[in-house]
């Protein structure tokens, strides 16, 4: 087997373009996938025009004021704003493609909010202009702006409720409020009830006022009870739900490390499968297969050599790749021996898949195309999130993912990179079983390999 390995390495050495493509192409794809998965989406460029004149963004709520402008800054934090000075300019920016959208804050917005809060009338409106035909881009801009607007909406509501609750407290318990620049003391319902109850006690027992004042005290008791209940209820409306998150699966792989693992496994898969399939098919296209297996090498050893060659080369390439990626993403170097183990097992399993493909396809060009066509869906199926598809389809995808090495290799390498669950043992066992299964398939395919 050693001499076959030496021969194949010599052949690869004399095919620099092929080797270059085989290494550079999957790495380029893998890095793109990795960056796409690990980089948060950028902020959309949005033309922003605030028509509310400076100093006129205040809304008076009883004794307090809130400023609409302070909430606009929240909106701006989630976009990349282009400040414009008219609505027409904002729309032009969108039409010209300088901005994906335009947000216009109308000058009447504070008054509209004021009217809604104080009188329950009106519908405060912010204008949004979009000019994108790309549905994905549209969804992205929509989500970025809508979610931020919703947050602004909630913040304003919360502030209004806070003012309302404070006012209720003052009605209930008394306090001081500013009215026309004057500090005015409010008696409060509880104090009023105490005074009335004291007055009743001081009245003669046959006083005709007692019945009337008892009615006032009774009303005050009911009002105090009702308002005391209303305050916490109103306060809770601002934040009706609290999410208490508990991660049952234990520690999850950090996004960056997971993206790095995906990038590495995509490269491992492409290099190994293409190399194994191609190099086995070369034996036939060079007419050497029949000469080799008439006593010089058994078909099983020939397959083992191709698996070792492709798996070894791919493991070396992806180890270097992982080392390079670790300059930018935290990967646990103290588990380096597990990196090697996971990549080697993955390489062997992918190599076995590759020789099965090469054995079935037989021709170099057909084997390369077949390997390519098989590899892409394998990766895609393994990367579809479980929650993204319905029950039956999920079961089908799970079975497909189980039958190919991508998912198990990804689990093994993710664990090797960051030590997160599931452990590395089961994925390695899974890869070993798949390697044997694909090796057997390849051996069966070799029965008709030499037939022309």
């Amino acid at each position: 087997m050693r001499w076959l390995l030496v021969k194949d390495l010599q052949i690869l050495k004399r095919s620099p373009l092929l080797v270059g493509l085989l290494v550079v192409y999957p790495i380029a794809i893998a890095l793109m996938i990795g960056f796409a998965l690990s980089s948060p989406p950028g902020k959309p460029t949005v033309a922003f025009y605030n028509q509310v004149p400076p100093g006129q963004g205040d809304i008076k709520l009883g004794s307090q004021q809130i400023n609409v402008a302070s909430y606009a800054s929240d909106l701006l934090s989630s976009i990349k704003p282009i400040t414009v000075h008219s609505e027409a300019q904002a729309i032009a920016k969108v039409r010209d493609g300088d901005a994906l959208a335009a947000v216009i804050i109308p000058s009447a917005l504070p008054q509209q909010i004021q009217s809604l809060v104080t009188q329950g009338v009106g519908r405060p409106t912010v204008m949004l202009y979009l000019n994108t035909k790309d549905p994905v881009e549209k969804q992205f801009v929509d989500q970025a702006i809508s979610s931020r607007l919703s947050q602004v909406e909630q913040a304003v509501s919360k502030q209004v409720l806070r003012v309302a609750v404070t006012d209720l407290q003052e009605v209930l318990s008394g306090g001081s409020v500013q009215i026309l620049g004057q500090n005015v003391q409010l008696l409060g319902l509880r104090n009023a009830r105490t005074i009335v109850a004291g007055t009743i006690a001081s009245l003669p027992s046959r006083s005709s006022l007692r019945v009337a004042l008892h009615q006032v005290v009774g009303f005050a008791d009911l009002a105090i009870e009702g308002l005391a209940f209303a305050s916490p209820v109103l306060g809770s409306i601002g934040t009706p739900l609290t999410v208490d998150e508990t991660q049952l699966a234990g520690r999850t792989t950090p996004t960056d490390a997971y993206a790095a693992a995906i990038a590495v496994i995509v490269s491992l898969m492409f290099v190994t499968v293409l190399l194994a399939a191609g190099m086995l098919a070369v034996e036939r296209s060079e007419n050497a297969y029949a000469r080799l297996v008439r006593g010089l090498v058994t078909p099983g050893r020939l397959l083992a050599e191709k698996i070792a060659l492709s798996g070894g080369c791919a493991t070396a390439v992806t180890l270097l790749m992982a080392a390079f990626v670790s300059l930018f993403v935290h990967l646990d170097w103290s588990r380096f021996e597990l990196w090697v183990l996971a990549l080697a097992f993955g390489g062997i399993a992918f190599g076995a898949l590759g020789v099965a493909i090469g054995g079935v396809a037989r021709e170099v060009s057909a084997a390369s195309l077949f390997a390519f066509l098989v590899s892409l869906p394998i990766a895609f199926v393994a990367l579809v999130p479980a929650s993204a598809v319905s029950g039956t389809l999920k079961s089908v995808l799970d079975v497909i993912a189980f039958l190919f090495p991508f998912k198990a290799a990804l689990q093994a390498v993710s664990n090797a990179f960051s030590g997160t669950p599931p452990g590395i043992g089961l994925p390695l066992l899974h890869l070993a079983v798949l390697a044997i299964a694909f090796g057997v398939l390849a051996r069966l395919a070799l029965r008709r390999f030499a037939v022309r």
């Binding site: 001499w3 076959l4 030496v6 021969k7 010599q10 052949i11 004399r14 095919s15 060079e286 007419n287 050497a288 029949a290 000469r291 080799l292 008439r294 006593g295 010089l296 090498v297 030499a450």
Partner: protein, 250 residues
């Protein structure tokens, strides 16, 4: 099939390199080879001829050990059949990205020869390819590729060399040089068995003819024996061959 090594086999007559008895091979219901028997002696240059589908390649593949017969026996003097017989497939079985010497060295190592480098040097000298030793095989002419192809078949110095249509892709000059080389091998005692469609080559170079048709061995003898067997006065060997097949209902 039984494979017997060396002089221990009492069935192998003295002076016989290879004995085939009742070799039969079926592909499905079709008999590609039907009870074919013959013996080969050292230094013989045997041409296997016959129409397309006669069973020439099947017979050579069985002799080479690439195919296993369904019935029959094959014995070879000195070495086990398959391993011992040098096999040269019709299309050169070479790695085009490797040099001539690297191809020879690889197969010498895979054959576990005691001194691979000496074997490489010997074959380069025999095939007169010493000055092309470092050249990639893919850049050689068809004739030179065929020489390397034959050299690989000869690496283990086999008693029997099997050639499947060795001159099929060669121009007349290359063909002449090839036959010169093959005749030299036979002259040194190597039994050479070749299949061909080129009847003129058989007439000119073969010391014996095996004529196959529809999987059956119809004739074995010298080209002159075949002409005599036809009777009359055939214009040439090719005409005699056609008449012979016609007389036998093929």
């Amino acid at each position: 099939m039984s494979t017997t090594a060396g002089n221990r086999n009492p069935a192998v007559p003295p002076g016989t390199t290879l004995t085939a008895r009742s070799l039969t091979k079926r592909f499905g219901t079709r008999a590609a080879l039907n009870a074919v028997s013959f013996e080969l002696s050292p230094g013989e240059l045997v041409g296997i001829v016959g129409p397309n589908g006669a069973g020439k390649t099947t017979l050579l593949s069985i002799l080479a050990g690439v195919l296993t017969p369904d019935e029959g026996e094959l014995s070879q003097l000195g070495r086990e059949i398959g391993w011992g017989a040098g096999w040269v497939p019709q299309t050169p079985a070479l790695y085009s990205k490797l040099s001539v010497a690297e191809n020879l060295r690889l197969f010498a190592r895979l054959e576990k020869l005691a001194d691979p480098e000496a074997a490489v040097a010997r074959m380069l000298a025999q095939t007169a390819l010493e000055d092309r030793a470092g050249e990639e095989v893919g850049r050689l002419s068809g004739g030179n590729q065929q020489r390397v192809n034959i050299a690989i078949g000869l690496l283990s110095e086999p008693a029997v060399l099997l050639l499947d249509e060795p001159s099929a892709s060669l121009d007349p000059r290359q063909r002449e040089r090839l036959w010169e080389f093959i005749s030299g091998l036979a002259g040194r005692g190597t039994t050479v068995v070749f299949s061909t469609h080129n009847v003129a080559e058989v007439e000119r170079f073969a010391t014996r003819v095996l004529l196959l048709a529809d999987g059956e061995l119809l004739f074995t003898g010298t080209p002159s024996d075949l002409e005599r067997a036809v009777g009359g006065d055939p214009r040439d060997f090719e005409t005699a061959l056609m008449q012979f097949l016609h007389q036998r209902g093929h």
